[in-house]
């Protein structure tokens, strides 16, 4: 399994053609207290770079983009009851959705953990 990162602060864990998507620890720290998460419905088609989910802090609503194109297989139902999982465990239990990849080559432009760490360092 490999983990990739986007410059919009999403992470994606890829296992064959399946993947899990969430937002990074840096993203949750910037957003602050998460009070609501809207995840995509099962079967929804998402497009690389397109809107896929919405995360709302006390202050504002922010879009979460799909790191790659694909078909959503599951949204994280636990976030409906406890959106603060995104704050407490953003890169684990606070995942947003799972999807089937359309085209694994879309992963090529994404960052690995070291590159993402350097990217955040430069912000």
């Amino acid at each position: 399994m490999s983990r990739y990162f986007t410059d919009e602060h999403e992470w994606i864990d890829v296992d064959g053609n399946s993947a899990t998507v969430g937002i990074t620890d840096y993203a949750q720290s910037q957003l602050g207290d998460i009070v609501f998460v809207e995840v995509p419905a099962d079967g929804a088609k998402v497009t690389k770079g397109g809107d896929a989910a919405v995360v709302e802090s006390v202050k504002a609503a922010s879009d979460v983009y799909a790191p790659v194109s694909g078909t959503v297989t599951e949204g994280n139902a636990a976030l409906a009851d406890d959106p603060s999982l995104v704050n407490s465990d953003p890169e684990g239990a606070g995942w947003f959705f799972k999807l089937q990849l359309d085209d694994a080559s879309e992963l090529d432009g994404l960052m690995d953990a070291a590159a993402y760490a350097a990217f955040v360092e430069g912000l």
Partner: protein, 373 residues
């Protein structure tokens, strides 16, 4: 969150103090200001249970002096200012000729003068308007060399009294001068959170030392603009530029309490025709509060529906930490404004249930004169 304008962002006296305390700074009203320190939720709840220190030095502090300043000001505000006793303050509204609200403001009868605090984002326009509308015999001094702090919360009085003995004698909406060492302070028992608390005007040169003295009190933590907004929303208090604007008159704004009895009888203020008519006939639209079904926040700009019909618009909304649910404020047709009316807001194509609710959303805890604790 980013601000693409190239306008200069000005620095306030406590800018570096906030950064040293770990604040995240954002441009607001032309100044670099703290949006949050440890987090909006924690700061909000801390203020409700202890005492929060807010830097509101971006606001405009103006002294109006000269014979007849109160009577002159009454031409453009609907409050009874000439009856204001020294050391008393009043919430009022700066009115355009058509009765629209140009700003909301606090007016205090200080010795020999009126002390007026206006919103930061519109202070230069306000001052120009005041200068234009007031006779030349009235002196207007914009005190840009003073900072303004607010200490808010149930433990604010204990904490402030340790730094400035004697402040406990003030009741809600009273103000007086105090000394901190040799520094002249002007302190009022007022605020924008629904809690007991104080607003402290002080020389900018001693703002860092005074903020340090307050922050050294165990009850006190610095609080950012994010929590300031969620606290005032729970308190049902409108935010100028969002819940109030020039197209809105005081009756629509649900601020008729700011139109004093004598002024209702006599008129003689900007827009009196429109405002007195609205008082008599009732407004067409009115500002109300809403509780929100579920957990999804309904925010500024969302349209309000009754079935297929658009009946209003949300002007402020968000998650309310002390309520534990989303709340909102907005304008609806008067026919839909009764407490308990159920409506819907549309957010990202989805309908969310709203119920018109009494404000404040949590009880005020002001230190009123004559009130039993």
């Amino acid at each position: 969150m980013s601000d693409d304008t190239v306008e200069t962002v000005l620095e306030l006296p406590l800018g570096d103090w906030h950064r040293a305390k770990g604040a995240r700074m954002v441009p607001f009203a032309g100044y670099s200001m703290p949006i949050q320190y440890e987090g909006i939720m924690a700061e909000h709840l801390w203020t409700r249970e202890s005492a929060g220190l807010f830097d509101v030095s971006h606001m405009g502090q103006v002294i109006l002096s000269g014979d007849g300043a109160a009577e002159a000001l009454e031409a453009i505000v609907p409050g009874d200012i000439s009856a204001l006793k020294e050391g008393r303050m009043r919430y009022s509204l700066l009115l355009a000729d058509d009765g629209g609200i140009l700003d909301d403001l606090m007016i205090t009868a200080a010795p020999m003068a009126l002390y007026v605090v206006v919103n930061g984002a519109v202070k230069h326009a306000d001052i120009a308007y005041l200068r234009n509308k007031l006779p030349v015999s009235i002196l207007l001094n914009h005190m840009e060399d003073r900072a303004l702090l607010a200490l808010q919360g149930p433990k604010a009085a204990d904490a402030l009294a340790r730094v400035v003995p004697g402040v406990g004698r003030l009741f809600f909406m009273e103000a007086d001068s105090f000394l901190w060492g040799e520094e002249p302070l002007w302190i009022s028992r007022s605020g924008y959170t629904g809690e007991d608390g104080f607003e402290i005007s002080l020389p900018a040169a001693c703002a860092v030392a005074f903020a340090d003295a307050l922050a050294a009190q165990p009850e006190v933590k610095p609080i950012g603009l994010g929590a300031r907004d969620s606290l005032r929303l729970e308190a049902g208090l409108p935010l100028y530029g969002h819940d109030l604007e020039p197209r809105i008159d005081p009756v629509q704004g649900n601020l008729s309490f700011a139109i004093s009895k004598r002024r209702r009888e006599e008129g003689g203020f900007a827009g009196a025709d429109r405002i007195l008519k609205a008082l008599k006939d009732g407004p067409s639209w009115v500002r109300v509060g809403f509780t929100v079904d579920g957990r999804q926040p309904v925010r500024e700009g969302a349209e309000i529906f009754d079935g297929d019909q658009v009946v209003g618009k949300i002007t402020s909304g968000g998650f309310a930490p002390s309520v534990g649910a989303p709340i909102a404020m907005g304008y609806v047709l008067a026919a839909k404004s009764a407490i308990g009316t159920t409506l819907e807001a549309e957010v990202r194509g989805k309908r969310i249930g709203l119920t018109v609710a009494a404000m404040p959303f949590i009880p005020n805890r002001y230190h009123r004169k004559g009130a039993t604790k």
